[in-house]
Symmetry: C2
Subunit: 428 residues, 2 copies
Amino acid sequence: MSKEPPSAVEFPFKQIAGGVTAAKGFRAGAISCGIKNPTATRLDLALITSDLPTHTEACFTTNKVKAGCVRVSQQHVKVGDVRAIIANSGNANACTGPQGIADAKAMTKATADKLGVKMRQVLVCSTGIIGMPMPMQRVTPRIEDLVQSLKSGPAGSEDAMHAIMTSDTKPKTFAVEVECEGATFRVGGVAKGAGMICPNMATMLAFITTDAKIQAGELKKATNAAVEETFNRITIDGDTSTNDTVIVMANGASEVPLIKSKSPCTEIFRAALKHVMMNLAKMIVRDGERVTKFVEIRVHGAKTHRDAKAVAETVAKSMLVKCSFHGGDPNWGRVIHAVGYADARVREELVDIYFGGLCAAKGGLATSTPVKELEKVTAKANFTVTIDLNLGDACYNVFTTDLSEEYVDFNSSEYSAAVHSKRQTGLA
Amino acid sequence: MSKEPPSAVEFPFKQIAGGVTAAKGFRAGAISCGIKNPTATRLDLALITSDLPTHTEACFTTNKVKAGCVRVSQQHVKVGDVRAIIANSGNANACTGPQGIADAKAMTKATADKLGVKMRQVLVCSTGIIGMPMPMQRVTPRIEDLVQSLKSGPAGSEDAMHAIMTSDTKPKTFAVEVECEGATFRVGGVAKGAGMICPNMATMLAFITTDAKIQAGELKKATNAAVEETFNRITIDGDTSTNDTVIVMANGASEVPLIKSKSPCTEIFRAALKHVMMNLAKMIVRDGERVTKFVEIRVHGAKTHRDAKAVAETVAKSMLVKCSFHGGDPNWGRVIHAVGYADARVREELVDIYFGGLCAAKGGLATSTPVKELEKVTAKANFTVTIDLNLGDACYNVFTTDLSEEYVDFNSSEYSAAVHSKRQTGLA
């Protein structure tokens, strides 16, 4: 076997079932507490646990307004050896002040007591409406039932995934099995997120587990790199939530040798983690609230990475560009106008724009590519818009969606409806 | 009469008719050239002239992609003594490369020749679709007719205003007469702009004339200050066009003493110019493509002006916030989440949010104000959202709109439709 680590593109990742319980030594489960609506029976409280000690990394929203659960999890994850994640839908526990923090802590304490671990070994995540207090009277007495619901195998992961869904229409799960040095390890996860998505820790929850043995520092590097290239590159509506959280738990249960910097399995682990996150991130975008198009914006030839990112994000978030995607309209003029107002170095007369592989504009001017041909690209549900700035070597890509009338309709009347009916409609 | 200049709020501005021809010595007119659609008869080529020499200031889009007409006007306005503005709708002459610049120059030359002035004394503005060449064969031969159409009095201004409309549904005109030092001067303007509007020179055209006698340097200061506080504070969809232009022409025809720094009429002139621009800017927002709400976002208590501006703009551009406006939904949670991801210093536990005069959130937490009461505010077509960061003294305000399903529908299929029918539907 060659000593040189193969490039990422050659890694044969075997896709398997199981989400967060694919990796050895992890269990998951969920129950119905009626958090959003006391009489509803849908699963809304999830638990994911590791039977073995872990190294755990987490990334949280960059929004300065952070949910109570985020603030508590930020503190707990610093200590090390996280053993459980408790997560609910139906209420974001955000903008709930000191009471919200107390409630988030209480959830971790009740869970820790039942599992026989310390409070700080439990992370807590919530998703749903902002600004209404957690209905703790429906949660705390049920923790015992929640722990009882834990199972290994795909069913446990499925339940946990359903319990964290809000405006999602499709569950998001992905897992792989990877061979390295004669042994196998697994990486798998579940995610949720449909509205209020944007780079800078797109609003979503993603929980990923692995049985790889990995040093804490290496896990941190791998997680940050993978999040930067995946979850930080998706946008549905340009809004950044108060509750974004990605958690990666590694419990070392597999036989694969310890992963540290420059181990035989380091590169393949990083690639596998990125692969799982990329698939979850794409599922999130594809399931965006009332979206009909999944579009990759690729910027090449920028002077700096920062410029490439600014251009990609500006184009991906432009309302007029997104409307044109909705109509299947290859409107390069709107793309170039968004390029022009990005905070980046741009020379109009050097900009090339492609829909799929077809050049729509060269040097800032229309090409002779027939519009009918361009429309064949933009008529599809998935396509790429490539922008070459021809100023350097830096690249960046962002995954975005169209903007539909249904999105607007869906998002027009959430808060007052929730308050009036004394129920909560999830959004964060 | 007191030597102290009265504060802006005491100025009695008398609103009058006439738009750009209200001030003495200005004429305007328009003709139909069929720029967008060769068989259409709507007015689409406008001319505004001064019979006397002028000082003229102009502000242009900050988009790095600039229309050919913008580039030409930027050069011409530097020279001084502008005597005419030629403006067309139906084609933005943007992303048209060297040909576009040549066409813009040709428009100014043909106009200058007919008026007996120099090329650089003519500014040119275009609005409409990006990326298609100007149909010069329908324009250049008609310049003589255009000059013949010039008239003083409101009818000339009305025609010019109609000729520059694209997706506007309402014409935008505003003029005032002002007394100072025993004489009167006038300031009046016309504007257009409905989609693709955003601070940083919101996409629009605005032409303002005055017969005040004013030094060039003072006109520059007054124009920049007024634009910063008006046109730079409006957003409809967060996109910044390639064609934004504001032009202010001053020809000194009135008897009011020369305005320079610290003259008796300096303050009142600045206030009048701002007043005219503010009214035109608000008309632009109110006539936004398929908007139903006009909302002022006011930020107080920021640490710095830059922070106040960042928060106001971020809230005003948030898609989820705008959707909630559309639904008349007093969703302070969405407002605060947008506050939290602005590039500004924010402490969640200090943020207060008001709809109209009613406090919806205090210190980042819900107040006991009944949602029914908040809804009475957000049910109206016009309301204010006030955000107090409680960190300092800096303020900023932005005018924005809701986001409607009709906006999306309207903006979904412009380019290919235009190319297919070989007609142009205006957008920039």
